[in-house]
């Protein structure tokens, strides 16, 4: 009789250990840990890719002449700074021989630079750059206008001439109304 009790007890203990510890641990904490480790491996792989990409981008950026980067920031600045631009335009008109009569920010501000707001193309790409229009009027000769236009077109800061209205006079000194659009990176 005793010969059978101990093996039976051993079997019961074995079954108890299996169902009370082995199976729950395998399908519970071990399975969860494996999933977590897989996620961690993916995250680490992404981190390695990021680091590699960062080095590539840093190399590409370092390959650009710092002066060119500075020019790029001037070309499309981080802020509107229309006051500074007005000062620059005033200086340009003076150098060109034009007499600046007035300059002001137009009432309607265009939000997206890539396309007009009226076209209704909501896109994050289009909202990267903001723009506003400056209206100015000036008086001067046609040669002065040409010089001024050349200066605006080749301005270090991007300036688009959206509209020019030329009105003549008897003296060869004309009146100009212009609308200039300036941009900045939002």
């Amino acid at each position: 009789m005793n010969n059978r009790i101990l093996p039976t007890l051993a079997l019961v203990v074995a079954v108890g250990i299996f169902f009370a510890y082995v199976n729950p641990t395998w399908s519970g904490s071990i399975a969860a840990a494996k999933v977590q480790i897989d996620d961690d491996n993916k995250a680490l792989e992404a981190a390695r890719d990021y680091e590699k990409r960062q080095h590539e981008l840093a190399s590409a950026r370092n390959a650009i002449d710092p002066a060119d980067l500075t020019r790029l920031v001037v070309f499309l600045p981080d802020s509107v700074d229309n006051v500074g631009l007005i000062l620059d335009l005033n200086a340009l008109t003076a150098r060109s021989g034009l007499s600046l009569a007035s300059i002001d920010v137009s009432a309607d501000t265009v939000s997206g630079a890539g396309a007009p707001a009226s076209e209704g193309l909501p896109s994050s790409e289009m909202d990267l750059a903001g723009s506003i229009d400056l209206s100015l009027s000036a008086i001067g000769t046609y040669a002065a206008l040409q010089t001024f236009l050349a200066g605006v077109e080749r301005s270090a800061r991007l300036l688009d001439v959206r509209e020019i209205v030329v009105n003549g006079s008897d003296t060869g000194v004309y009146t100009y109304q212009m609308t200039l659009r300036l941009y900045w990176l939002r």
């Binding site: 010969n3 059978r4 101990l6 093996p7 039976t8 051993a10 079997l11 203990v13 074995a14 079954v15 250990i17 299996f18 510890y21 082995v22 641990t25 840990a33 977590q36 480790i37 961690d40 995250a43 680490l44 981190a47 990021y50 960062q54 950026r61 790029l72 920031v73 499309l76 981080d78 630079a113 890539g114 396309a115 009226s118 076209e119 790409e125 990267l128 750059a129 000769t141 046609y142 206008l145 040409q146 236009l149 050349a150 077109e153 991007l158 688009d160 001439v161 959206r162 509209e163 020019i164 209205v165 030329v166 009105n167 003549g168 008897d170 003296t171 060869g172 609308t179 941009y183 990176l185």
Partner: protein, 221 residues
């Protein structure tokens, strides 16, 4: 004298049967082997699972630390710089592609417009879709001069859809007119070489100027 085999040799009785008892004993032994074997396997399995669990936990802890370190190595300011630079480059490229240079139009107009035709007002505007229009009013010496201007615009091809309207003959036989046209993008696109701007003034005068008034700038032939 030999005893017959049917007569027992002793009065002590023999055991009923030894074979069944031996069989039962073997079965109990096999069951014990099986039970102990299962217990041994399960205990070893439990030890293995315990060890594996510990190893995985240690591995997970190490990887968590590694991820935390990798996260700390990510400089958000650097990322922001890269993003801004990318945005600036792409936007600058887009904007520069649509950057107008109307000096090219003026240079072309000086070159192709007959000297017998002049504008007194001129309005150039760039549309949002990248198109540009020109509207103006002016005076031609005669109908033939106006026809020549229309012909020149048609042949040049860069001043498109030129429509002359409000054509009136003045007392001095000159013809006043209004013009509306669209411009070819190549005529005002920045970066496309345009003819060098002449220093000669554009023949503009006031909108209501008489032919005498225009003589201050570029007299009609």
């Amino acid at each position: 004298m030999a005893l017959p085999p049917t007569i027992p040799t002793s009065f002590i009785p023999h055991a009923a049967s030894a074979a069944p008892r031996r069989f039962r004993s073997d079965l109990t032994g096999a069951f014990a082997y099986f039970a102990y074997g299962v217990l041994t396997i399960v205990v070893m399995l439990a030890l293995g699972v315990f060890s594996y669990d510990r190893i995985l936990a240690a591995s997970q802890t190490a990887k968590d630390k590694e991820i935390k370190k990798a996260q700390e190595n990510i400089d958000s300011a650097t990322v922001e710089q890269f993003v801004r630079l990318r945005d600036r480059l792409s936007e600058s490229e887009t904007l520069l592609a649509g950057h107008p240079a109307f000096s090219g139009f003026f240079a072309a107009l000086e070159k192709i417009l007959p000297a017998t035709v002049r504008f007194s007002t001129l309005r150039l505007s760039q549309g949002n879709a990248g198109t540009a229009t020109v509207e103006g009013s002016g005076i031609a010496k005669s109908f033939n001069a106006l026809a020549a201007a229309s012909d020149v615009f048609a042949k040049d091809g860069r001043i498109k859809n030129a429509v002359f309207s409000d054509i009136n003959v003045n007392k001095d036989s000159s013809v006043s007119f209004a013009l509306s046209a669209t411009l070819d993008p190549g005529l005002f696109a920045f970066g496309i070489p345009s003819p060098a701007a002449a220093n000669a003034p554009l023949a503009t005068s006031s909108a209501r100027a008489s032919p005498e008034a225009t003589q201050g700038t570029a007299p009609l032939p």
